[in-house]
């Protein structure tokens, strides 16, 4: 089994990460370490629902209508908010359509999988980046280690 894990690491490590260009340099670190927000304060349904959700611009503006309005990134934010649009965040993790895979945050949160397992050290990161490389091997290995089902139909249907 260990041999296998190494094999898949060898395969995956060689894949370069695609860095997404985010429209605003959102510092997760500031919000978490300084403002002491929790992940689910913004990603509100990450612990219960399928999708974690990304907060809408109005949520940002709840604070940033007043807070730190002079910073350049916040100005960008305000400009977008004024245009009545949403922030065109780039997706960081996602499955290809052809992968036919269903990932649900809820069960993972319920079974106390830390966010960092899949999302990496976001609390110290600036903007959302794929800090952890995901592929089927990642899921399977974790599932096996945690005695979760590795039945294909757990995710593929």
């Amino acid at each position: 089994m260990k041999l296998h894990f190494l094999l898949f690491l060898a395969v995956t490590v060689s894949v370069p990460a695609v860095r997404a260009e985010q429209p605003i340099l959102f510092p997760h670190s500031t919000h978490i370490n300084k403002v002491h927000l929790k992940c689910i304060d913004c990603h509100i349904s990450a612990d219960t629902r399928d999708a974690a959700t990304i907060p809408g611009i109005r949520k940002c503006m709840l604070c940033h209508a007043k807070v730190a309005t002079d910073k350049p990134e916040i100005k960008k934010l305000a400009a977008i908010a004024a245009s009545g649009r949403e922030i065109p965040w780039q997706r960081v993790y996602g499955f290809e359509k052809a992968a036919a895979v269903k990932f649900r945050h809820g069960p993972h949160a319920r079974h106390k999988v830390p966010c960092a397992t899949c999302h990496g050290d976001m609390p110290n990161a600036i903007t959302a980046q794929p800090l952890v490389k995901h592929n089927m091997g990642t899921c399977i290995t974790c599932h096996r280690q945690n005695n979760a089902s590795d039945d294909c139909a757990t995710c593929h249907y």
Partner: protein
């Protein structure tokens, strides 16, 4: 003199057999061009299929297998011409085999290369065919080794490897001799491929040893390969496919069609390469007898297969049986019986009628008949599924036909190229025998 080509002066033999390598007529170029264009057209058709999806074929529910699988089984069958026949002849040390073996072995390799493509062509997502191969991957998944298709993959890979080696080994001494060719690229090709053959007795000894061993092994592989192909069908529970007899039935059919192909190839080589002194009537006579035997065997199996279905009178099987013998496929079924049995037995069984021409005619018939046999195994069963409501009809689309035609063209093309690059008859095997050693 012509009765014993091996008694010809060695120098003449060499010259005769090496001559085709250096001379190409306009006919050769014409045929190569036509075949090449046909192969291109086939590739284009495949391109269309890859782009649009398998919907461009005539397949439907429930006829999920069609021409591609028919072609697959047919070509794998043809591949038995070679190695199997050559191995049998080599092991029995039939002296007349010498001009036949390499021609036969080449058929095997090319037919396998072509036949092996079909399972990929017929895939819904052909670009993922490598998922059948067990290799460590990020998905931590392995193929299902219980599937006959994985057996097929292993069997065909083994057979291709074995056949290639089996064809290659006796080519080494010939290529060593051709190393002195006047064209530089050819010289390089031949010397590289001959691996520095010196002609020492140690090499000869090892070669003969390897050939003998390989002949035994390849025989075992060849039989297993077509058995496994047969099991693709008989492992399923579709009516009339689920037959314990399919293994030997397919092997017999394969050898049968293989001989047909070989006779045609031999006759063509004889005519076009002017090898009348080497491929003599005795060869055709012997091959005809072999084919006659296989025809009788084939008939025995076919009858045995069908009479058990008829007698058993199991409704679902009778549906297929009825389709074949008096339904939509009756014409083709009876055509098959005629060309596979009536014609060969008449033409080759009656000594007076047996000649090179009749052998070729019978062979063409057998090729058609054996192709039909595969069609009649694959399609009528699928159009007559167990639940009547799922019944359907099947007629191949232009894409399937084009690809089928292209594979025949590819076979001819490969063969023409091979015959231009390598002596089609093993020259060194015409070693001067002293009369007392002659059997």
């Amino acid at each position: 003199m012509a009765e014993h080509p091996e008694l010809l002066p060695y120098g003449i033999i060499r010259e005769d057999l090496f001559r085709p390598l250096s001379r190409a007529g306009s006919k050769w170029w014409f045929t190569v061009t036509v075949c090449f264009l046909l192969v291109l057209a086939g590739l284009a058709a495949w391109g269309v299929q890859l782009r649009d999806g398998l919907g461009v074929t005539g397949l439907n529910r429930p006829v999920f297998w069609g021409l591609y699988i028919v072609d697959f089984v047919f070509w794998i069958g043809i591949s038995h011409a070679g190695t199997l026949i050559s191995a049998i002849l080599r092991l029995t040390d039939a002296a007349w085999r010498k001009p036949v073996t390499r021609a036969a072995e080449a058929i095997t390799l090319f037919a396998l290369m072509i036949g092996g493509l079909f399972p990929i062509i017929h895939l819904g997502r052909a670009w993922f065919f490598y998922w059948l191969i067990p290799y460590p991957n990020a998905r931590l998944m392995w193929p299902n080794f219980r599937s006959p298709l994985v057996w097929d993959l292993v069997a065909i890979l083994t057979y291709v490897t074995g056949s290639a080696i089996y064809l290659y080994l006796p080519l080494i001494p010939d290529m060593a001799q051709l190393g002195a060719h006047n064209k530089p690229w050819r010289r390089k090709l031949y010397t590289t491929l001959s691996l520095g053959w010196t002609g020492s007795d140690r090499e000869w000894h090892a070669l003969e040893m390897a050939m003998k061993l390989n002949a035994v092994i390849i025989l075992a592989i060849a039989i297993s390969v077509h058995t496994v192909v047969a099991w693709d069908f008989s492992m399923s529970i579709a009516p009339t496919w689920h037959s314990t007899m399919f293994g030997p039935y397919f092997v017999v059919g394969a050898i049968f069609s293989g001989i047909g192909a070989l006779i045609i190839v031999m006759a063509t080589l004889r005519r076009t390469l002017h090898l009348e002194n080497y491929l003599i009537k005795r060869h055709f006579d012997n091959m005809s007898k072999l084919m006659l035997t296989m025809s009788l065997l084939w008939f025995y199996f076919t009858m045995s297969e069908h009479i058990t279905i008829w007698y058993g009178n199991e409704p679902k099987e009778m549906g297929v049986f009825g389709q074949r013998t008096r339904g939509d496929y009756a014409f083709w079924f009876w055509t098959m019986v005629v060309v596979n049995f009536v014609i060969p037995v008449t033409l080759l069984g009656i000594k007076k009628l047996r000649s090179i021409t009749t052998a070729v005619i019978a062979s063409f018939g057998v090729l058609i008949g054996m192709w039909l046999e595969r069609y009649l195994i694959v399609v009528p069963t699928l159009v007559t599924p167990r639940l009547a409501s799922a019944t359907s009809v099947y007629s191949p689309s232009w894409v399937e036909l084009m690809i089928t035609v292209a594979t025949f063209a590819a076979m001819i093309l490969l063969y023409l190229l091979f015959a231009r690059l390598f002596p089609i008859i093993a020259v060194w095997e015409y070693k001067p025998h002293s009369p007392e050693e002659e059997d």
